[in-house]
């Protein structure tokens, strides 16, 4: 296994050992259970409620995990002095950053996998007869997009944690998550403005992460298909944007004085 791989696996192990993580997963599963109750007291929208509430829970809890673990990835290692042990070995700083990113992304992928099982189980429970429909496959696409959201968030949390305190990193990452959720509106506003404002707004609109295109919960809840183009572009975009943020983190971390 490469050095990046070892760091990633260790990051994953550390995250899994974290009790907060277990609590959040348990809470997400509880929320999916709540969806069933809501579904039972509604009329004819049981499946809709389960998909909407389940996927929203997966997304929100994953976002919380991504932010709160992501911001501590570097600072925790510095506080515990374990970073010096790692870097005194033949491990390059960029390998440390990339390994941490892959480890956290992996953690979130596993998390989402278990939460997704909860969502599908709830869906099966409320369906009459207890059987999946072909349109339910689109839920997997929505889950994939949610994972892409987490990947972008992990990279941003890591970028901010490479130069600021955990609290600042949390604020910055959460702010970008909120702004990014309205990214399409932001670009619409930019198109409506004129002159210098238009240039500045367009620049800002393209720099913030585009989370709105990654949110297809409403669409899949209604069994609407997702185009292959959207899946391809969203995947490529998430890779490009995360790469950009990780490169930023590497550049900053390479120059950071750790004494």
């Amino acid at each position: 296994m490469s050095r990046v791989g070892y760091i990633a696996v260790n990051t994953f192990r550390e995250a899994v050992r974290d009790r907060v993580l277990y609590n959040l997963v348990a809470f997400a599963l509880l929320l999916s259970g709540a969806a069933i109750l809501v579904g039972q007291i509604s009329i004819d929208i049981e499946r809709l409620v389960v998909v909407n509430l389940g996927l929203t829970a997966v997304s929100l809890f994953g976002v919380v995990i991504a932010i709160f673990i992501g911001i501590g990835l570097v600072s925790k290692e510095i506080d515990k002095k374990t970073l010096y042990t790692v870097l005194s070995r033949p491990v390059r700083r960029w390998e440390f950053v990339v390994g941490k990113f892959l480890g956290l992304s992996g953690t979130l992928f596993v998390n989402t996998f278990f939460m997704a099982i909860g969502v599908f189980a709830a869906l099966l429970y409320v369906s009459t007869p207890h059987r999946f429909q072909s349109s339910d496959a689109w839920i997997l696409v929505a889950l994939f997009f949610i994972v892409l959201q987490f990947v972008i968030l992990c990279s941003l949390a890591l970028l901010f944690s490479s130069f600021s305190t955990p609290v600042e990193s949390a604020v910055f990452t959460f702010a970008l998550f909120v702004i990014g959720s309205f990214a399409e509106d932001l670009r619409g506003f930019a198109r409506m403005s004129h002159g210098l404002t238009r240039w500045l707004a367009t620049g800002a609109a393209y720099l913030v992460p585009n989370f709105s295109a990654l949110n297809v919960i409403g669409q899949v809840a209604h069994g609407q298909p997702i185009s292959a183009h959207l899946i391809a572009y969203n995947t490529a975009y998430a890779v490009a944007y995360s790469a950009m943020a990780i490169c930023g983190a590497v550049l900053i971390f390479e120059r950071r004085n750790l004494k």
Partner: protein, 307 residues
Amino acid sequence: MTITGSRKVTVTASILLLVSLASSVLLLQRLDQLRSHATLEEVLYLTSPKWIKRLSLGYDGLMADIYWTRAVQYFGGHHSQGIEEFKLLDPLLEITTALDPKLTAAYEFGANFLAPKPPNGAGQPDKAVALVEYGVRNNPDNWRLYYNLGFIYYFDLKDYTRAAEAFERGSKTPNAHPFLRILAAQMAQHAGEIQMARMLWQTAYASTKDEQIQKNATTHLRALQVDEDVTELEKIVARYQELTGLLPSSFNALIGAGMLRGVPVDPRGKPYKLLPDGRIELRNPDDFPFVEKGLPPGYVAPRPKLD
């Protein structure tokens, strides 16, 4: 010259950063093309304003601003592309005003988007009335809403009694524009006349600081002037024919007969045309959207421009 390991990482990361930045911008542009109406699509899934209000977690004001901007973009986009169907306009306005019932701009401008016939609006005056009535219920002291209501009743629904009622109700609000009382009083006698329409547009111009509304009012006032001029000139031509038994060959004939003091010009200073059959026509009808008289037979007005 050898490059140190750290420098190699810096150069590689910098290049990769720039490449990924450029790629993400390009991909976003493709995504925007793919999802050109994405921000509006959620209206199709979440149609209940009450649900959206709950989901906004108390940030109603901000959400209302976002929905209002979406409504403006939707109307502006459709209008500039010449699309005459505005299916999502009413739901967008309904959501906006449910989220923030005090957002008076949404009632005033929203009604102006909804009420006029296409291509100037969505041609849904009943929905415009419902929107403004909702605004009145939530902002009973805002005289401008009553004025808007009267305006829709007068111009779009031609219901002069209700228009008079709306102006009357508005005139009783605190700080009401004094013109409302006059409009309500004049309505009984002069409903349907050019003078009444002129008075309404003059009030629209005088009671706002918004340049777009003032521009729109000016365009309508010019159109009314043309309608009035053409009506008057055709009456003069008819009188000339009665006196001489002939149609005038040009405006000079009318000037010579002492019926006109000079060649009549339109509000933009261009002379009117006197046709051999006695009709009066505008030299350039494209300059005057909304005119009803003085147009060549079969004339189709160009699509109004949005500034």
